[in-house]
Subunit: 585 residues, 2 copies
C-alpha cells in the first residue's frame, strides 16, 4: 500500500506517477469506508483527492501556504499531512475535526468553516510575505459554490491588483451544496465547455491571469498544470474541473444528498438505521407549512442562501414552490436585501439560513431591513446550544448580535403551534423585520393557548407560582420546565415558569408585576450571556431589590462540545439549575 | 427658468431637448450655490444631473422604481421630485436629508446610506413585481465605487439569472470616494476606452446583457440610451461614463476632496473660515503615528476600505506609506480577512473604517479573526453619540454588535496618550483581535498615568471617591467627569470616577472592591444600552445589593439628532445626570 509510506507531503516527492495514482485509489477507498461509518462531508472530499496529492507534490508545504475554502474538502489533505490514522482506523476516526485547525497540524493555517474567505486570507498571507521579503508560495483553493459569496468576488478583484505570486485554484465540481445559482455559473459552464477559451472570462475581467485544466481528477495532468501555475510571479487562477463524489456511485448520482451524509450501508447507500431519528423534523414541517401558504398567496416568497435542507426545501419542495422560491447561492447579504426589495413591493419574503451564516448579513438586517421597517421574516436553525457544535458553526452568539439592531423583533418560540402561528403572523404583519429561531431538539406540543399576535410583547406564564420565576427561553424550555418541577419537588414551592417567546423586547408590565411576590428571577439563556436576554432582565431590575440569576454561557468559543457536560458546567441542566437557585436564594 | 416649471417628473415629459439641457445647467448652478453654503456631497451630484433628468424623462416614476445606491447622488433627483425649494432657497436647505428617505417623498423607495445594496434591492422589487403580475420597470443606479462591495457583485450574478426586466445603470465616474482599487477597474477602463467593446466583460461574465454610453453628461444621448435599455425584457447593464464634480473646477480637479465638502468660497474653493475647526484632529494624529511606526517596522500594514480621510490617510500619507498601505475599495469583508491573512504571516495589520461600515464585516471579525485568535487591530471613528448623526450612519450600535464576539477586545480610550499607547500595544500583542473606538470630540490630555499594557483588564480610577461610582466610557469621559464634579458640588460627596477603557471584559476585582464603600454604580454608555457595557455591569451585580444606574440610549434609530437634546432626554449630560443620580440614591 502506497499510503503506508506517506507520512508527510515530503514522501510524495519520491513517488512515481503510477504510485500517486495508486495512492489516490487507496485514499478514496478509505474515505468511502470512513464515510459509511462516520458522519461528515462526502462529495467534496471524494472529488478532491487527486488535486490534494498534486498540490502537496508540487508545493513545499507547510513553508508554502495553502488555504482551503470552507475546508470541508480537506480530508485528503489531512491524510497526507500526518493524520492518516484518523481515516484508516475506525477507533481513530474522532481524532480529527471536520475542518482545518491550526491546533491539529502546522499544515492547517486557519480554523475555517464558512465559505468564500480563502482568497482574502491568501492575499493577506501574500501581502505579509512581500513586506517581510519571504519567498513562500501562497495558494487559495476555492470551490465554485463558494465563489458566489461576495467576499470571494471582492477578493478576486483585489487579487487582480496584486503584483506578486498568488495562485487561486478554482475547484469546479459544478455544484454548491445543491445546484449553483447566479449568472456567473453560465460563464463557468462556457469555460468548461470551451476548455477555458470562452469569451467574457470572469477572472480576466477581474484583472487576473487564467489557466484551465479539464482533467481535475487526474494526478499527472494536475501536477503539470500546477507546475505551470506555480511559475507565475503574479496572481493567476487555475480553473480545474473535478467530479464531486467521485468513486461513490450514490454520491455521483445525487450530489446534493451526499454533500454531507450520515453513516450508511455501503451496498445500498441507505442511512444506517441507528441514525434515522424518529420524531418530527421542524425543517420539513416548515417547508410543508410554507408550501401550503404559497398556494393560497402568490406574494409568499421563500429565499435561501445555499442551505436548503434546514428548512426542508429539497428538490421536490423547490419544484413545487416554483417561482416562489429563490436560492441566491452562498450570498446571505443578497438573500436579506433581496427580501427587503421584495417586501417593499408587496411580497411576503421569508429568508432562511443557519444561525452561524446569518452573521454575514448583519449590516443588511440593520441598514436595509430594520432602518426601513420592512416586514421581512428570517428563520434560522441551530441558534441554540442544542444546534451545531463545531466552533466555526455555533449559533450561540446570534441573539447577542441581533439584539443590537433596533426595530428587529427576535423570537425563540418553544412550541410547535406557537412557532407556526408566529411564522404566519410574521409574514402577514407590515411593521417589522422579524427573526425567528426555529426550535431545536424535540418538537414540543403547546403547553399554553397558541397566540395569534406576537407584538407588542406579552410573555406566556405556565403557570404562575411565587418566590422564584424561571424564564426558559426557546429550545431550552423543556429543560427549564423540568428544572421548575425539580425545584418544586425539593422545596415545596411552585415557581413561576415563563416562555418569553420574544427576546429582543421586554414585557415590562409583567416584570414589574413579578416584584409583588417574587424575589428571584432565573433566566435560562440559550447561548452566551453577553448581550443576551438575561442581561436585559438584570438591567431592568438593576435599581430594584429583585435578584436575577443568569444561567448561560461565558463569551467564549466552544468546540465539539459535550452538550451534557457544558450544560452542567454552567448550571443549565434541570438538576444543577436547582442547586444553583438554592445557593442564591 | 425651466426649473420653475418642473414640479414633478411628469413636467419633464413636456420639455424639448433644448429645455432639458438648459434645465441641467440651472440645476447644476443651484447645486454649486448650495454646496458653497451647506455641507454635503458635491462631486457625485454634479456628475449625475443629466442622467437624473434623463431617468425621470424616460421612466414613469414613482410607478417605475429607481433605487439609488448610497443615494448620495440624489440631490438632482430630489430637485425634480417636488423638493426643489430645498436646493434653490437657502432658508429651505435643511428641509431635505442627504439621502433618499421614503418619509420625505414617494419617489424615494428606501433609506439608504451604505454602498452596494441597490442591485439586490432592485432584484427584490422585480421579483415581487413578477409574482404579483406588476408591469412597472425596475432600475438600479450604482456607481463604479460601490461596485467593489461584495454584495453588489453577488447581485450582478443573481440578476444574471433573472428572466424579466431589470435595468442596472453603472454610473462610472472613474472614482470611489478616492481612487478605485481592484482588478475589475482595469476592466472598466478597457470598456470605457473601447466604447464598451473590450473583451472579458464583467457583466456578460455574470450572465447579463450590456450596453455602453460614453456621453454620460449629455441628456439627449442618455435619453436614447435609456429608451433602448428600457425595452429589454431581461436584465441589462447600461454602463454610462460621467464626470464626477462636473461644472465645479475645484471638484473636477481634486475629486477626492470634493466627494463631500464643507461650505466654501465660490471664488477660491477654500472652506469657509467658520468651519475650520481648531483643535487637534485624531485622524491626522493617527496617520502620523502609524507612518512613524511603519518607518521603524516593515511589518506594519495599514488597510482601509474606501474611507481614507477618517484615519488621515490622504494622498500624501498614502504615498509615504507605499506598500505598507492597502485600500481594498468598499469591501470591508475583504479588509478584515486580508488583515487576518497578513497577521498569520507575521504582519501587524491595522484596519480602519467608520463604525457604521464595520457592520459589514461582523462575520469576518468573528469567524476569521476571533476564532483564529489573530492579532489584527481595527480602528473605527464615529462609534459614539458624538459621531455621525444620519440614521444610516450611526455608530451607536457597534459596541453592542461587537460585544457578541468572543475573544475580541473592545476599547474606547478617553485620552490621547492612552489611545496611542493602546494602538501601539494592540499592534505588538499576539493574542487577540482588538477593536478600538478612536475618541470623538475634543482630544483630551491624559488625566492618569498612561498604561503600557491593556489586557488583562484594569480600570483607571480618577480618583477614588465613595458612595457613588461613575463609569464614563470613551468619548463621554469629559461629560462624566463634569457630572462627577457637579455631583460633588451639590452633595459634598466625592464620587469615584472611572475610565474603564475596555468595554468587552469586566475588571471583576475592581467591581467587587467597589461594594465595600459604594451603593450606586452609574454607567454612562456611549450608545444604546442593549448589549452594551452598562448591561454587563448590571448583570455583574444582579445578585448583590449594589444599584446600577444605566444612562444610555434606548434601542432605536435616531436621525439627524440634536446632540444636546438627546443627551438631556436620556440624562446623559453633566447636569441631568446628577438629577437622575439624586433620584435613585
Amino acid at each position: 500500500m502506497v499510503l503506508e509510506r506517506i507520512n508527510s507531503p515530503e514522501d510524495l516527492k519520491q513517488c512515481s506517477m503510477g504510485d500517486l495514482n495508486t495512492l489516490a485509489g487507496e485514499m478514496r477507498n478509505f474515505l468511502i469506508e470512513r464515510a459509511s461509518k462516520h458522519m461528515g462531508h462526502v462529495g467534496p472530499d471524494l472529488g478532491f483527492v487527486e488535486a490534494t496529492i498534486a498540490l502537496h507534490r508540487v508545493f513545499d508545504t507547510p513553508k508554502d501556504k495553502i488555504v482551503f475554502d470552507v475546508s470541508h474538502q480537506t480530508y485528503p489533505h489531512k491524510m497526507l499531512t500526518g493524520r492518516k490514522k484518523a481515516y484508516m482506523e475506525e477507533a481513530s476516526y474522532d481524532e480529527v475535526g471536520p475542518y482545518t485547525d491550526p491546533k491539529e497540524s502546522p499544515y492547517d493555517l486557519f480554523s475555517i468553516g464558512h465559505t468564500s474567505t480563502s482568497i482574502d486570507l491568501a492575499i493577506g498571507l501574500a501581502k505579509a510575505r512581500d513586506l517581510l521579503s519571504g519567498t513562500e508560495k501562497v495558494v487559495a483553493v476555492i470551490g465554485d459554490g463558494s465563489l458566489s459569496g461576495g467576499m470571494a468576488l471582492e477578493g478576486l478583484s483585489i487579487a487582480g491588483e496584486q503584483e506578486s505570486q498568488l495562485l487561486i485554484i478554482l475547484n469546479d465540481n459544478e455544484m454548491s451544496i445543491a445546484e449553483n445559482h447566479g449568472g456567473m455559473y453560465k460563464g463557468l459552464k462556457r469555460l468548461r465547455e470551451s476548455n477555458g477559451q470562452a469569451e467574457d472570462n470572469l477572472f480576466r475581467a477581474m484583472g487576473l491571469e487564467y489557466l484551465y485544466e479539464e482533467q481535475g481528477n487526474d494526478v499527472e495532468s494536475l501536477v503539470k498544470a500546477l507546475e505551470k501555475a506555480k511559475s507565475y510571479e503574479k496572481p493567476v487562477v487555475l480553473h480545474i474541473h473535478t467530479a464531486k463524489g467521485k468513486g461513490l456511485k450514490f454520491a455521483e448520482e445525487d450530489k446534493e444528498s451526499w454533500h454531507w451524509h450520515l453513516p450508511f450501508h455501503l451496498e445500498t447507500g441507505k442511512t444506517r438505521e441507528e441514525y434515522n431519528f424518529p420524531g418530527e423534523d421542524i425543517g420539513e414541517l416548515t417547508a410543508e407549512f410554507l408550501l401550503a401558504k404559497m398556494k393560497k398567496d402568490p406574494a409568499v416568497l421563500v429565499i435561501t442562501a445555499g442551505v436548503l435542507g434546514g428548512m426542508g426545501f429539497y428538490a421536490k419542495q423547490r419544484k413545487e414552490a416554483g417561482k416562489q422560491f429563490v436560492d441566491v447561492g452562498i450570498a446571505e447579504q443578497t438573500g436579506v436585501t433581496l427580501a427587503c426589495g421584495a417586501a417593499k413591493n408587496g411580497a411576503k419574503p421569508v429568508f432562511f439560513t443557519s444561525a452561524t451564516f446569518l452573521q454575514r448579513a448583519y449590516d443588511q438586517i440593520s441598514h436595509d431591513a430594520a432602518i426601513n421597517s420592512l416586514p421581512i421574516t428570517m428563520v434560522v436553525n441551530s441558534a441554540s446550544i442544542l444546534g451545531m457544535r463545531d466552533k466555526t458553526h455555533l449559533g450561540l452568539y446570534l441573539l447577542a448580535m441581533a439584539n443590537s439592531i433596533p426595530n428587529l423583533l427576535i423570537f425563540a418560540p418553544a412550541f410547535k403551534g406557537e412557532y407556526f402561528s408566529l411564522l404566519d403572523w410574521a409574514l402577514e404583519q407590515q411593521e417589522h423585520p422579524v427573526l425567528i429561531f426555529a426550535p431545536e431538539g424535540n418538537v414540543l406540543e403547546d403547553e399554553a393557548p397558541v397566540k395569534k399576535s406576537f407584538f407588542p410583547v406579552s410573555y406566556q406564564e405556565i403557570p404562575r407560582g411565587k418566590k422564584v420565576a424561571i424564564f426558559a427561553t426557546g429550545s431550552l424550555y423543556e429543560e427549564g420546565r423540568e428544572g421548575a418541577k425539580n425545584f418544586e419537588k425539593k422545596t415545596g414551592i411552585k415557581p413561576s415558569l415563563i416562555n418569553p417567546g420574544i427576546l429582543s423586547h421586554l414585557d415590562k408590565a409583567y416584570l414589574e408585576n413579578l416584584e409583588k411576590d417574587h424575589e428571584l428571577v432565573v433566566v435560562l439563556e440559550d447561548g452566551i450571556l453577553s448581550g443576551g436576554f438575561a442581561e436585559k432582565i438584570a438591567s431592568f431590575y438593576s435599581l430594584k431589590p429583585m435578584k436575577v440569576l443568569s444561567l448561560g454561557l461565558e463569551k467564549e468559543f466552544y468546540d465539539e462540545y459535550d452538550l451534557e457536560a457544558l450544560m452542567k458546567e454552567y448550571h443549565m441542566d434541570r438538576e444543577s439549575m436547582v442547586e444553583r437557585i438554592l445557593e442564591v436564594l
